[in-house]
């Protein structure tokens, strides 16, 4: 039961490290950083506070970079099965960096700043490799500018917008997946109305030197409490959002990961800019199989497995790594994330199953400590999302 205490000396610190310690956070190694997993309130209370009011997250471990130049969007599009070129200025979109086999190197968010500049946020554990990959693949076509002197905060929850509007009048004009440069209590920042909780909220990029002051200003607002990575994980799972390294990785393609919605028509078969991304042949074939599957003729050889939501029919948490079986005892998949959802008030999970078992409503069993736990394939999110779309 003892927590591991590896050589913490080599861990990086975000600009908010001292504040986390001052707030009584339990710090754990995450993505090479010492990060707050929870504060004294505890995971459950932090999770519920975010769903009820507003929670402040330090996500400064994530990578921030800019791709600059007239060819940046066209170049970036060659790395992802996503429409980058047509994203209007002022808007943000979800993207997926792929390897040549169509496996996912990372998932990310990118924002069109206009004037040939894309602002990109990638996962902390992947950022060094991502930046090297982007530099190697498209460094000759645009300027790749890492932003290591910037921190990233998230303010999430139904009261996030009203709270921020008090400090930055007009910020409420942004709708989901839009954003821009603002001042928050006089501190320059770049915000997007997005997040990783399923709630309305903002992500806030700010200069490292201003981060502590901004975080303290936000925490001084009556609605706001600090939230650790533990609740961040339970919130995102209830929202049906993937955790890179658990639910998606280099061995999963976007189609297997049920991320078809992230691949716009223009990049698909018959689209104006069809293909032209790593692993395109495989992914377009899988998309065709998935589309046929929607019509009731799934090609199980081309698309062997799919990511699905799962709900346990007993109150037993089913965690990542748990084997999924048919009721006949045949292995048909594996759980990649799972916990008791504090808001869902049920044991929820996501995992990969053979496509024949991927239809919502399908019953199967998880083998937990040798005992079968019945589960049902479910649509996601497990808790309704509340993004502000205007």
């Amino acid at each position: 039961m003892a927590a591991s205490s590896a050589s913490d000396t080599q861990l990086l610190k975000t600009p908010l490290y001292d504040l986390h310690v001052e707030l009584g956070a339990r710090m754990v190694p995450f993505a090479g950083y010492s990060m707050p997993v929870q504060y004294p309130a505890g995971l459950m209370a932090e999770h519920k506070h975010t769903r009820d009011a507003a929670g402040l997250f330090d996500i400064s471990h994530m990578g921030q970079l800019r791709l600059v130049g007239p060819d940046a969007a066209a170049a970036f599009e060659t790395l992802m099965p996503v429409d980058v070129i047509d994203l209007p200025a002022g808007k943000q979109r979800y993207g997926l960096l792929l390897n040549d086999e169509g496996g996912i190197l990372d998932d990310l968010m990118f924002f069109n700043e206009g004037h040939g500049s894309l602002f990109v946020i990638v996962n902390g554990a992947c950022k060094v490799d991502d930046i090297a990959h982007i530099q190697r693949k498209i460094g000759a076509r645009c300027e790749v500018q890492p932003l290591p002197d910037h921190a990233l905060l998230a303010l999430q929850g139904p009261q996030a917008a009203a709270t921020l509007a008090r400090l930055s009048p007009g910020i409420e004009r942004f709708v989901f997946m839009t954003g821009g440069a603002v001042q928050i209590g006089g501190i320059p920042a770049f915000v997007t109305r997005s997040g990783y909780t399923g709630e309305d909220g903002f992500e806030i990029s700010v200069a490292a030197k201003d981060t502590d002051a901004l975080a303290r200003l936000l925490l001084a607002q009556p609605e706001v409490k600090p939230i650790g990575l533990g609740a961040r994980n339970s919130l995102r799972l209830e929202a049906g959002l993937c955790l890179y390294g658990n639910d998606i990785d280099t061995t999963t393609t976007p189609v297997e990961a049920s991320l078809n919605w992230a691949m716009q028509k223009v990049r698909r078969a018959g689209g104006a800019r069809e293909g032209g991304f790593p692993g395109a042949a495989k992914i377009l074939a899988q998309l065709a199989a998935a589309t046929a599957g929607a019509a009731g003729h799934t090609d199980h050889d081309t698309l062997k497995r799919k990511r699905v939501g799962l709900v346990a029919l007993e109150r037993i948490p089913v965690r990542d790594g748990t084997v999924l079986q048919s009721f006949e005892g045949q292995d048909i998949g594996i759980v990649t994330s799972g916990l008791l959802g504090p808001t869902a008030d049920r044991c929820v999970a996501m995992g990969y199953v053979a496509t024949a078992f991927a239809e919502p409503g399908t019953r199967l069993q998880a083998i937990v400590r040798g005992k079968p736990v019945p589960m049902e394939v479910s649509t996601m999110p497990f808790v309704p999302t509340r993004y502000y779309r205007g």
């Binding site: 039961m1 929870q38 995971l43």
Partner: protein, 123 residues
């Protein structure tokens, strides 16, 4: 009656040939909000060190080890129904199971309160 502790952060309250077992304040604090316990079957026999149950918070699952060899005589159904008792009252109403000791001498090798507190503070 004597209360002893293990390096697996469990407590053992023994009297006569029987003992009650639970997890320590330190253990429940490290786990966070407990949402599920898997308790052993009454009548089942375990050797010291075997996994007899599981305690889970939202973020983690931890094995509950048998601190002393013996037979399970009773499990805490109230804890099964309300796992948060492991957080709110770990040393009393949040107990896990009762054991009929097969080797009572094992108790002597467990930690006393002062030794356990020192161990927990360092872990």
């Amino acid at each position: 009656m004597s209360i002893k502790y293990t390096k697996d952060h469990e407590w053992v309250s023994a009297e006569g040939g029987a003992a009650t077992v639970g997890i320590t304040v330190h253990a429940q604090d490290a786990l966070g909000d407990v949402v599920f316990v898997d308790l052993p079957e009454v009548g089942k026999t375990f050797a010291q060190g075997e996994v007899a149950g599981v305690v889970e918070s939202v973020k983690a699952a931890a094995d509950v080890f048998m601190p002393v060899s013996g037979e399970i005589t009773e499990v805490n159904e109230a804890l099964r129904a309300d796992p948060s008792l492991a957080n709110t009252d770990p040393l009393a109403s949040g107990w896990f199971f009762k054991v009929k000791l097969s080797e009572p001498a094992q108790l002597d090798a467990l930690l006393d309160a002062a030794t356990y507190d020192k161990f927990a503070a360092e872990s």
